[in-house]
């Protein structure tokens, strides 16, 4: 799936004394099967751009297109459907739910679908085995290491086999071994033709991308294609 952003601007707390201009007039074109990597210093607007493209927040100005459909002005319900059926997210801080076990977290996206627990567990088990988490299936996520938690988060993002994957600094909070494993997962996804958008500081990940964006002070510099 291709994603296009036109003049995206995001201002938090608009009109208040704490107003933050996180992104200004950002325009990008991400083609289908692109592996787009975004870099830039902390607070430059990478996460905001990911959230805007992933329909997690509405732009103050500008538009987002997915497959030429202008989706940024869709209602909350329609945006939810797009997230549910087409998008997978991986967060830097994992954002797992501590009350659930590892497999339950992985299976969460299927909870709002017509599935039984047995079906969900079967699916989760399969993907967790692929990610080397077979032994951790029934563990509470709090008892897992940071690397394991991130792999659970990756499994959760991939369980619905989404066409677009967003990842916000997926290797920033994990050890080198896990980072390598996660980079391997992205390579596989790239091979499978998924559209991937990742914000990162990880140099070994940057070289895998097909497109490199640099963001600075809320502004996108000209993208570099490899």
């Amino acid at each position: 799936m291709k994603i296009r952003a036109v003049n995206l601007t995001k201002t938090y707390f608009k009109g208040s004394p704490h107003e933050v201009s996180a992104l200004r007039n950002a325009s990008i074109d991400i083609a289908e099967r692109d592996f787009c990597l975004m870099t830039g210093p902390s607070g430059s607007g990478k996460t905001t751009l990911l959230c805007l493209l992933g329909l997690l927040t509405k732009p103050t100005q500008g538009k987002v297109y997915i497959d030429d459909e202008e989706v940024s002005s869709y209602s909350d319900a329609w945006q939810t459907k797009i997230r549910k059926n087409k998008i997978g997210f991986i967060f830097q801080q994992y954002n797992l739910l501590p009350q659930f076990t590892a497999w339950e977290n992985v299976a969460l996206p299927n909870l709002c679908r017509e599935t039984t627990a047995a079906e969900r567990k079967q699916q989760a088990l399969q993907i967790m085995t692929d990610l080397g988490l077979k032994e951790r299936v029934d563990f509470k996520v709090a008892s897992l290491s940071g690397g394991e938690q991130q792999r659970v988060a990756v499994a959760r993002a991939l369980i619905t086999d989404p066409e677009i994957i967003f990842a916000d600094e997926p290797t920033a909070a994990v050890d080198e071994e896990t980072a390598t494993a996660i980079i391997g997962i992205f390579k596989d996804l790239k091979q499978k033709g998924k559209t991937i958008i990742v914000s990162t500081h990880d140099k070994s990940l940057i070289k895998e991308g097909t497109m490199h964006l640099t963001i600075n002070h809320g502004e996108i510099q000209a993208p570099i294609r490899s």
Partner: protein, 400 residues
């Protein structure tokens, strides 16, 4: 085991998720369940007792004759003379006129009602369900006999053919009655405090032979004519106090109604407290719950899905708390005797002989309790839940 139908799988998933949430947010769960449980317990205890008393009062009033006539002296209730008995008998439509003499007597630090009736012509309405559990009803030919309510018999440990010795007003140190029968009624009031004797014995006991009767019961042939007959009695002797059965019922119900009305105010305060507690918990647990909502929305849960989960959580919490509250209310009323509330609703409980409280636990009462328990909880929980469910996932996760 068969799988649930296709359309119910998602809802079953949400139900299980709601159960998990309840056990996850323990402080919130405990605060809501405890506050709601206490509120439902108090309301339930009040409702069961107040309804029981109202029912008791209504049935008791049915025991009243069509018209009760009392004498008035200087604006106060006094005895009614036998001349009035003759006067009332002559009014058209009057079927029967029955004089009664009754009063109160203290026995073992409790107050009992001694009622003298003309045993031959005193009608006992079927509503009362008076049955002799042992012995015989009063006979006019046998003086100094009494029949007593089963509760009195149990309280005072008196059996049939025993002698009941009461301190009389007639100047005699003691007045003995032979207990010839023990009765039961479906009205606790009568079985608990009523001692029925022949009217002549009562007049002697209360030393009131020369004063006439305590009141006169008038029975009318056609109930439609009751107001007309009552008016006619008043017209013929304006010094008499004439009470129709309707007036007695209204008076009794308004007495209990007003008392339970005061307690309703307490209930409103409790309801408001439940709303506050639920609201407070929904907002203080808010940061964590909002983040959870943000994550769920990111994963494809719709606002409706999230509201359904929160609705189920509230429903489960409310049901558990209300059920526990209702059971505690029943325990409080039935097994503990409803301390404090009983005193407030009855007023005279301090001097009245102990009797089984007239508790009325009806299906409609229980359903109303569930409904009123859920209402504040839904307001206190679902509005904050809706607010977080419509928040953009990015904002919810970041907690801005």
């Amino acid at each position: 085991m068969t799988s649930p139908p296709l359309s119910s799988k998602k809802h079953l998933n949400f139900f299980n998720y709601a159960l998990k949430s309840i056990t996850t947010y323990k402080v919130r769960t405990t605060a809501i369940v405890c506050s709601l449980l206490v509120a439902v317990m108090i309301l339930g205890a009040m409702t069961f007792l107040a309804d029981g008393l109202n029912r008791e009062a209504s049935v008791s009033a049915a025991f009243a004759p069509d018209i009760t006539v009392q004498g008035m002296d200087a604006g106060r209730v006094s005895a009614v003379d036998s001349a009035s008995l003759s006067m009332i008998s002559q009014i058209p439509q009057v079927e029967k006129v029955v004089p009664r003499t009754w009063g109160y007597v203290e026995y073992s630090s409790k107050i009992y009602t001694v009622m003298g009736i003309a045993s031959t012509n005193m009608p006992i309405p079927s509503d009362i369900g008076l049955v002799m559990s042992s012995g015989d009803f009063l006979s006019i030919n046998q003086p100094q006999n009494a029949i007593i309510g089963k509760s009195i018999a149990e309280t005072l440990d008196i059996n049939i053919y025993d002698t009941l010795v009461l301190e009389a007003d007639s100047g005699l140190a003691n007045y003995s009655f032979s207990v010839t029968g023990i009765f039961e009624t479906n009205v606790n009031l009568y079985t608990s405090d009523l001692i029925l004797v022949n009217i002549k014995d009562a007049q002697t006991f209360f030393n009131s032979s020369s004063m006439g009767y305590t009141d006169i019961c008038v029975y009318v042939e056609d109930s439609i004519q009751i107001p007309t007959v009552a008016q006619e009695i008043s017209n013929r002797n304006p010094m008499l106090r004439v009470l129709t059965r309707e007036a007695i019922i209204e008076s009794t119900q308004s007495t209990y109604g007003v008392r339970s009305g005061y307690l309703s105010i307490i209930w409103y305060v409790l309801l408001f407290s439940v709303i506050l507690v639920a609201w407070n918990q929904a907002t203080t647990a808010g940061a964590e719950m909002r983040k959870e909502v943000g994550i769920l929305k990111t994963l494809g849960f719709s606002t409706t899905d999230i509201l359904e989960i929160r609705f189920l959580e509230t429903l489960i919490l409310g049901f558990v708390a209300a059920t526990a509250g209702i059971f505690l209310a029943i325990t409080y009323d039935v097994y503990l005797g409803a301390p404090f509330i009983k005193d407030f609703l009855l007023g005279w409980s301090a001097i009245y002989p102990g009797f089984a409280l007239p508790i009325n636990i009806s299906v409609s009462n229980v359903l109303i309790l569930y409904a009123v328990a859920m209402f504040p909880l839904f307001i206190g929980s679902l509005i904050p839940a809706w607010r977080s469910a419509v928040t953009e996932p990015d904002i919810a996760i970041r907690g801005n």
